[in-house]
Assembly symmetry: C2
Homo-oligomer: 331 residues x 2
Amino acid sequence: MFHLFEKEKIKAYIKEELNNIEKALQEERVSQNDFINQVSEYLLFAGGKRVRPLLFVLSAKVCQNSSKKDISFNLYRTSLLFEYLHTATLLHDDVVDSAEFRRGRKAARTLWGNQATILVGDYLYAKALRMASELSNHQAMDVITKTTLLMSEGEVLQLLNFDKLSMSEEDYFEVIYRKTAVLMSACCEVGAIVSQASPEEQRVLSSFGCDLGLAFQIIDDLLDWISEETGKDLGRDFFEGKITLPVILALRSAKDDDQRELRELFTKPNPTKDDFIRARELIEEAQGFSLARHKAEELLKKAKSALNIFKDSQAKSALNFIADYILERKN
Amino acid sequence: MFHLFEKEKIKAYIKEELNNIEKALQEERVSQNDFINQVSEYLLFAGGKRVRPLLFVLSAKVCQNSSKKDISFNLYRTSLLFEYLHTATLLHDDVVDSAEFRRGRKAARTLWGNQATILVGDYLYAKALRMASELSNHQAMDVITKTTLLMSEGEVLQLLNFDKLSMSEEDYFEVIYRKTAVLMSACCEVGAIVSQASPEEQRVLSSFGCDLGLAFQIIDDLLDWISEETGKDLGRDFFEGKITLPVILALRSAKDDDQRELRELFTKPNPTKDDFIRARELIEEAQGFSLARHKAEELLKKAKSALNIFKDSQAKSALNFIADYILERKN
């Protein structure tokens, strides 16, 4: 926890770094082709939080600070590759899920069609890998290509995951690892690599990013049930029959009758708003939400304490701040 | 041109190399996941000619022979990355084109749906890049990521290419460069790179692969009009309103009336078989087919003469043989 004044200083520092990332994003032309730029920018500038580029930049800086080495390339431009990678997966996800909306506005596919959306997704992915290759760094490329392989395999596994109610906690963690954590881990690890950090520093940041990503996704899934944000579309996961951590933990700890009822609610062909409210009550009763939140807290505690190996710096404070922020998110 | 006996020897050598590639393909598990393997293998083992891995292997060998250096990794396994890359693009193409058939059988998407096809395509692409990264070779990665960027940008350009009848010869060459030639060029260039060939040898093989790829696609497009293969589905390009080289050259050299008629045939909303036959007559009359064929011949002549810098070897004969074979293709 930070003091109020300290907190404002860190927030200002993060804001500055986010501005640098934003500026790089504005300056970088994704392609020579206007249409590709138009489709890409529609999603790239739709209010994304730039978590991934930010993690990369801060990880690079936390190591720079300790090793006093100079970075000979544009850190902010390089950070974009992680945003492009993430955006490519979102474009394909929207096609695969026939999504109508993304980040509160119409999904790209509803404006330009599935064909263009698939191909621009492919392009952004190729662009990200091209930028990674320009680093001329084996180790960075190794991490990034391992990451994209795990992610794309995970996408197929999710599509196949039919018998969702038998999903174990371990299965869930595997899903969110591939969906979110492995990329955040890569952002941090590659940040360390480009700063020529020690192997230990690289390992620590990789694991920090992984724990942070897992916690991030747990909270994301939690907010789908209990967000206090007005106007937020609650229960999307429930209505899609998607099982997340609160459900898994509730199914484990609920009384037999409640378990049965919860299972039934999840297998109803056309669940109603009342079904959602009842399911939420049952999960609440079995402490599914607080247990899930506790898991996220534990992961973030672990993540933050790992950062102790680094000397104090603004970047380190910022990484700690982001870890705290994940628990405070309201939407 | 080769003597008959010589030709049989080269054919046997190529067959052996193709067997080695096929064996590597059988041995390599694309993924740990059976479903991904099933979808991938359905297309991977649907009678592809393995042109791209073969070009890689032969290019590596033609340089090895001249520089006497050893290659410390499995050439055949590495060659697969080009087949995976190619297969990934085919899977996405089939989704984008809503294709019903591919290589004479049902397209993967008709069996497993668009969702799985998109995601397995993504996976194969990630797998190819992962294998490329395992080479730990900046230069190879540089060529491969440049190639995939050009290819994926080309896919979008093709989708956008609405006013097809105004397509120039230059536009056509840009399309087939990105569609076919740049990848074949990469196969050859990366083959040279992994053999630690000289910069000149790399350049020559890159350009050989490019010319070969352009000629390959010209002949492919030509055969869509005039294949002698019985049972071959002629005129797919015509019925899709796709303009290829014979049409462009015919439109340039035909008499005014014939030009007008040809344009009209290409803008009819529901062209018939008779329309196709008439269009073919008009192109034939304007020498569109022989002029296109001549372009391919010129490119292949240039490609083959560039190989003169290499000492004679079986691999060199095989590359020359492939160049000749492209003109002999009947389907």
